[in-house]
């Protein structure tokens, strides 16, 4: 077992012990928090259906292969495996979508394969750029984002390259 396996259990123990010192009822808090998962699941489910159908059509029709071939020269230069092209392209638009693609990657390549691990690091280290931008600016009058979107996309791509590189090493 690696060090990282200890991380989550230890954090949970520390947190629960801390709640005793704070005289907080951890049990009640946990139950209340777990209840809110209902809302989160209900909001994300319709998105997951829509994305999964699109992704499924995309791969069964053979489009993903064509797209992968088109992108392969660029991805090769950056050291990104072609198998991750769908994940990388969908990710800026939807967070649910990247989870959907990740599930497919687990099923196709195995959860402990290099492709799957790199995919995990990518999905865990990025957010849905266009979605977040739309929501966060929704109540302001701002319509133009200046250098915001390019910077967000470039830094995300750098994160992807870093993820692929680090997963190759460890």
């Amino acid at each position: 077992m690696q060090f990282s396996s200890y991380l989550i259990p230890i954090l949970i123990i520390l947190l629960v012990v801390y709640s005793i010192f704070k005289k907080n009822n951890a049990y009640n808090s946990f139950v209340y928090g777990a209840k809110t998962s209902f809302d989160l699941v209900l909001t994300s489910f319709p998105y997951l259906v829509a994305i999964f159908i699109a992704v499924e059509l995309f791969s069964v029709s053979g489009l993903s292969k064509i797209l992968g071939m088109a992108l392969s020269p660029l991805f090769k230069v950056l050291g990104i495996p072609i198998e991750l092209s769908e994940l990388i392209l969908l990710k800026p638009f939807t967070g649910c979508g990247s989870l959907a693609v990740l599930e497919n990657i687990f099923a196709t390549y195995g959860v402990d394969s290099y492709i799957a691990r790199a995919g995990c690091a990518i999905a865990g280290s990025s957010e849905a750029i266009f979605y977040i931008t739309a929501v966060y600016f929704s109540q302001t009058k701002v319509k133009k984002f200046s250098y915001g979107i390019p910077v967000a996309l470039i830094s995300n791509l750098l994160g992807v390259v870093a993820a692929c590189l680090i997963c190759k090493i460890i």
Partner: protein, 211 residues
Amino acid sequence: MNFVWISFIVVGLGIMLFKNVDIAFSTILTGSEKAIALTLKLWAIYAVWLGILKIVEDTGLNQKIGKLLNPIINKLFGKTDPETHNQIAINITSNLLGMGNACTPSGIKAMNGLSKGQDVITSGMIMLMILNTSSLQILPTTVIGLRVAAGSVNPNDIIFPTLFATFVSTFSGIMLCKLCEKFKNKRKKNGKSKSALPQPDANLEAKHIYK
């Protein structure tokens, strides 16, 4: 997103009309089935983590972390009014802890506070946008949960790679932001461009940039 989705559907189904039309509808249903399977897995993960995060919230631990962030927020955003500063702290803390549903309201409020009703974007607003679009989450709990569900030998071994990638994207985002800001201000100073970013508080902001 609408455009992306429509093009996936139209092109995907379009190709299948010529290639394998007999499995077209079953493919759609497969997609829906997979979505339900994933939703169930996600539900288990969300229930656990939202429970744990609620303990974090009720013990006031997130506010403590928020206070630790003060110097960083001052450095990144310059001078802001206390209420906006507070919302930024809540937004960043919930991002770090992965409290997805706490990020959004505080983020929207912080964005409103930074914009002050203007229709032009400021450097602070772009910084907040960059911080939120490049993930800040310390523990990739959802991804770890999905790996557990998929039967991984060591689901936790992606914690470090994810942290590394997160650090690279966030750090490069902040640096690029500062660079673009400098470049824009220079152009504004030389009077070559009228579209340069307006500074909410010119003196303080300038001091902060050229420090």
